[in-house]
Subunit: 225 residues, 2 copies
């Protein structure tokens, strides 16, 4: 648990999968923090001051020290509060956790977001194919483990909250099949197990307003088609 | 030093800045390894087996355990061989090192490579501007330190070998100004200090064949303009 001397703030936005990663990590560690919702259409002075490089959420400020980039923050949380480890202790297993969480950001997030948001049909087909390929690697990697981290939620699970919560919402809004139980049975089972984990569950955003937000966003994108 | 029981192989390619990062990290630790030059136009069975996800170099194989992604490899090396630390021991400083090395991959490598390789003039202007903005952040971050890591070469320095060695070569071939001592005096001084560090120096590729390779590559790209 964070001692009373610690001052921890999270600048976030309700619909962001990257902010959700940080919330889950804090909760796994039992760290209390002050949450500040940012209006990304009108960014605060605080956000611009603490993340002048990317001007994005999440940002944490721990005893006046700011830090950005969700996976960097999750590792920082793991190294600062030692209880309930998020990364394995073995250097090779740690490296694999970093490899696969980076893989999710590099190969799943971009391709799946483009698949649901591009107005170009050929581009969409290409991105759907790339999403399938990337998810297949994760399906294979999961093997018969409960979580990517084994018996406990770890770095790759936290990174993959985007796959468990956001992709199903996007595909429902857009009427596309990206991540289904038929195509990725192990990954689908993992997603159900993960979303029902008590700490994950209480740190997911409320589905309805986030769904409505993205529905509106996609409608505005496709209205211009 | 690696013990004689350790079996370490690096699959690389002579002109790759990402492979060069791993070579520097191994040398800083005094790890002996077997180097295998890959022909990227005709990838080996070994490369496809050990890095089925990205099919790229560098890949290391340590006692039969394969690992890809240069920054993940460098952290693995740092955690496996504890002498001559590459990352700081303080969690916040470690996080900043990860933040800035990721920044180099996300904001410098892509923009500067596009700046020298795109045939579209508007695209080039945009990428030159983005490269300038990214390098300015690093210029500011360097402050009056000898290396990004302080008195010793660290993770960010190793990541930035691309800036010290590759960008000057690219801009000379293409006749563009991307990274000059006038515009980025601190970063330029850093690059000279870094390139002359004995361990860095002996692990850079020979400039002439790499220069010739990229000159030929750019000529083939621009011949089609």
């Amino acid at each position: 648990m964070a001692s009373s001397q610690e001052d921890v703030t999270l600048l976030g936005a309700i619909g962001s999968p990257f902010v959700c990663r940080v919330k889950i990590a804090f909760k796994l560690k039992g760290v209390e923090y002050k949450y500040v919702e940012e209006n990304l259409a009108n960014k605060s002075e605080q956000l611009l001051k603490y993340n002048p490089v990317h001007k994005k959420v999440p940002v944490i400020v721990h005893n006046d020290k700011p830090l950005a980039e969700s996976l960097v923050i999750v590792e920082y949380i793991d190294e600062t509060w030692k209880n309930n480890p998020i990364l394995p202790s073995d250097p090779y297993q740690r490296a694999l956790a970093r490899f696969w969480s980076k893989f999710i950001d590099d190969k799943v997030v971009g391709a799946s977001w483009s698949a649901v948001s591009t107005i170009d049909e050929k581009e969409r087909e290409k991105n759907v194919k790339e999403t399938f390929e990337a998810l297949q690697f994760l399906e294979n990697e999961l093997k018969d483990k409960k979580f990517f981290g084994g018996e406990e939620v770890g770095l790759v699970d936290i990174a993959a909250v985007y796959i468990a919560f956001w992709i199903p919402m996007f595909q429902e809004i857009r009427g596309l099949d990206l991540f289904t139980s038929e195509k990725f049975p192990k990954l689908y089972n993992w997603s159900q197990e993960f979303l029902n984990h008590p700490i994950v569950k209480e740190n997911l955003p409320p589905r309805e307003p986030v769904f409505a937000f993205f529905k509106g966003l996609f409608e505005s994108i496709f209205a211009s088609k």
